[in-house]
């Protein structure tokens, strides 16, 4: 009998596919159900934020960069404000550093909650999404309490914070931190030993440590393959060196290893957040005392001429930043979030560039999924936790 002539089939997955986390388009070449080649196409969410940032004053860029990685808004703005503060040579009071650490960890939990909900939903555990989003709602409420905005609080400012913590902040965060570890146990009870979840994730989408590092995947993906690199440990910022926490790792490098790393990261975030909350006094300084950047207190603005002039200058023409460039990395939920800032000495940035972890993850996607099954593509995209706003900017 003559051999059957078979042909590969090219399938367009996305850009409106519900499990591609936004508008990622994959052109897949299939041989039956096996993926022969994969070509990601990005750019559908490109909004030119970096170009827009060059037209704004330094402080006005904060809300812009928060809209890049929209699930980890405050991780973007933390990298940006730390970069500008590095160029200005500002040192923050201890209380500001502690609040920033606390907010950054709450942001990490919120981002990981969206990840665990959507990742589990896409591979069949639909109810997981509701449990995860319910917890995230409490974190959104905390954001609203702090800044009046749930998604993009813009609470971090160059020179400190936007304002002091509101009344009832400690109680709200404490209530969440008391409740959340039990909820992580519930999530794990649903997934970690679930036979169907294990079969969809174990041994799927394997990437070795050397490959992960060569493709620039520093973050949870590399930690799932055995790296212990975490910016908070290797290059501490905002006083992370004074906190007790572990960097969770796994060695298998598959989807399940990345799942275990991120779940354990949520527990470590709770640990850091508890330590930070203990250190933060209910009231105190919430900005540095540099008059170039931080406007004077309102009672002085209404009584002193110089303070009024300074207030007017900061709000009308902004402040200038010494010429130079700086790259400041922070550990975002998706890996190393870095902000490269160039200043020419004026009141507007010359260039603002984010290092997007999702961009690198999507670049390496063909490496991970080629020669796998088409059903595993969904599991792999979920496990890399890509956000298209971060990728396309």
């Amino acid at each position: 009998m003559a051999e059957l002539r078979t042909e590969t089939m090219t399938v367009n997955m996305g850009p409106q596919h519900p499990s591609t986390h936004g508008v990622l388009r994959l052109v897949l070449e299939l041989d039956g159900e096996t993926i022969k080649s994969c070509m990601p196409t990005i750019g559908y969410l490109h909004t030119g934020i970096e170009k827009t940032a060059e037209q704004k004053k330094w402080q006005q860029v904060v809300p812009l960069v928060e809209r890049m990685d929209y699930l980890a808004a405050q991780s973007n703005s933390l990298a940006y404000v730390l970069g500008v503060e590095k160029l200005l040579g500002l040192e923050m009071p201890q209380r500001v550093k502690d609040i920033r650490v606390l907010i950054a960890e709450l942001q990490r939990m919120a981002s990981h909650l969206v990840w665990i909900g959507t990742h589990a939903m896409e591979i069949g555990a639909v109810s997981m999404l509701f449990y995860a989003i319910r917890e995230r709602e409490l974190l959104m409420n905390i954001n609203e309490l702090v800044a009046g905005f749930r998604f993009f609080p813009s609470y971090f400012r160059v020179g400190g914070l936007r304002e002091d913590l509101p009344r009832g902040f400690h109680e709200a965060v404490n209530a969440f931190l008391d409740r959340f570890p039990g909820k992580i146990d519930e999530f794990e009870g649903l997934l970690t030993k679930n036979d169907m979840f294990l079969r969809r994730t174990q041994g799927v989408g394997v990437i070795t440590l050397d490959e992960a590092l060569a493709w620039g995947l520093v973050g949870p993906i590399a930690r799932g393959s055995g790296s212990d690199y975490d910016v908070r440990r290797y290059f501490p910022y905002s006083g992370y060196e004074t906190y007790q926490f572990d960097v969770p790792t796994a060695t298998e490098g598959d989807v399940f290893a990345r799942y275990r790393v991120r779940v354990e990261e949520m527990r470590q975030s709770v640990r850091i957040a508890r330590q930070a909350l203990q250190r933060i006094s209910p009231s105190g300084s919430w900005a540095c005392d540099d008059p170039r950047v931080v406007p004077p207190p309102k009672d002085k603005v209404y009584t002193e001429m110089e303070a009024l002039i300074q207030h007017f200058l900061i709000y009308s023409q902004g402040f200038t930043v010494p010429a130079g460039d700086a790259y400041v990395p922070v550990e975002g939920p998706r890996g190393e979030h870095g902000c490269y800032i160039v200043s020419d000495g004026t009141n507007r940035p010359w260039r603002v560039k984010m290092r997007p972890p999702s961009f690198m993850a999507i670049q390496a996607l063909p490496k991970i999924i080629e020669n796998g099954m088409i059903a595993d593509v969904i599991a792999v995209i979920g496990s890399t936790d890509v956000v298209m706003g971060d990728c396309d900017r």
Binding site: E7, T8, I42, G43, H46, G48, E50, K51, T52, Q55, K86, L87, G89, L213, A214, W215, G216, V218, S227, Y229, Y234, F235, G324, D325, A326, Y327, V328, P329, E336, G338, Y340, V342, W350, R351, K353, R355, F359, M360, Q363, A364, D392, R393
Partner: protein
């Protein structure tokens, strides 16, 4: 490790290249001449006292009207030695000195970031395997991150003529693709 000691480590390995250290407020910055970029990067990756095994990003900045106009910036990370390094290459805007060699052979991660730099700044990476538009549409004109590219711009929507082929052409295309795949 500051820029001077990195240059001193590199100097015996790359005898005829002159490096420059750059001003920085965070970590070491070195300027590398474009023709010797790939060999320098390989030395940075493989020398035991440096071991820059991760390329974090490739980006550029447009310093119009300065000449040479662009700086391509590579951020490197050495996990074993807990080091960071910024490598800069000065690039002009004309066809002779507006070209940088690709470092894809050293770090495969350079592929997309270099494509993005070409897309946004129009800096050509010689030897790149797939230098196409990445973030902008394929038929976009100009390079938007350049300083002389207008911010407020109105462009007519791009339209496409529907592809019309006869039945014979259609069959010929299918057959051609099949033969191409068979090889």
């Amino acid at each position: 490790m500051d820029a001077t000691s990195i240059i001193n480590t590199l100097a015996p390995l790359m005898p005829d290249v002159s490096y420059e250290s750059g001003q920085s407020v965070d970590f070491a910055t070195i300027y590398v001449p474009a023709p010797s970029l790939v060999e320098t990067c390989r030395a940075l990756r493989d020398t035991p006292s440096l071991r820059f095994n991760v390329l974090l990003e490739v980006t550029a900045a447009d310093y119009l009207p300065r000449e040479p106009r662009f700086e391509v910036v590579y951020h490197l990370l050495s996990i074993p030695n807990r080091l960071r390094l910024r490598v800069k290459v000065r690039v002009g805007s004309n066809e002779i000195d507006g070209v940088v060699p690709t470092v894809q052979s050293v770090w495969p991660a350079a592929g997309w970031p270099e494509r993005e730099v070409w897309d946004m700044f129009g800096i050509v990476f010689a030897g790149h395997t797939d230098l196409r538009r990445l973030l902008m549409p394929e038929d976009w004109e100009g390079h938007p991150a350049r300083k002389d590219y207008p911010v407020q711009i109105r462009k007519a929507a791009q339209t496409y003529e529907p592809l019309e082929v006869t039945e014979d052409e259609f069959k010929a295309n299918i057959e051609r693709d099949r033969l191409k795949r068979a090889h």
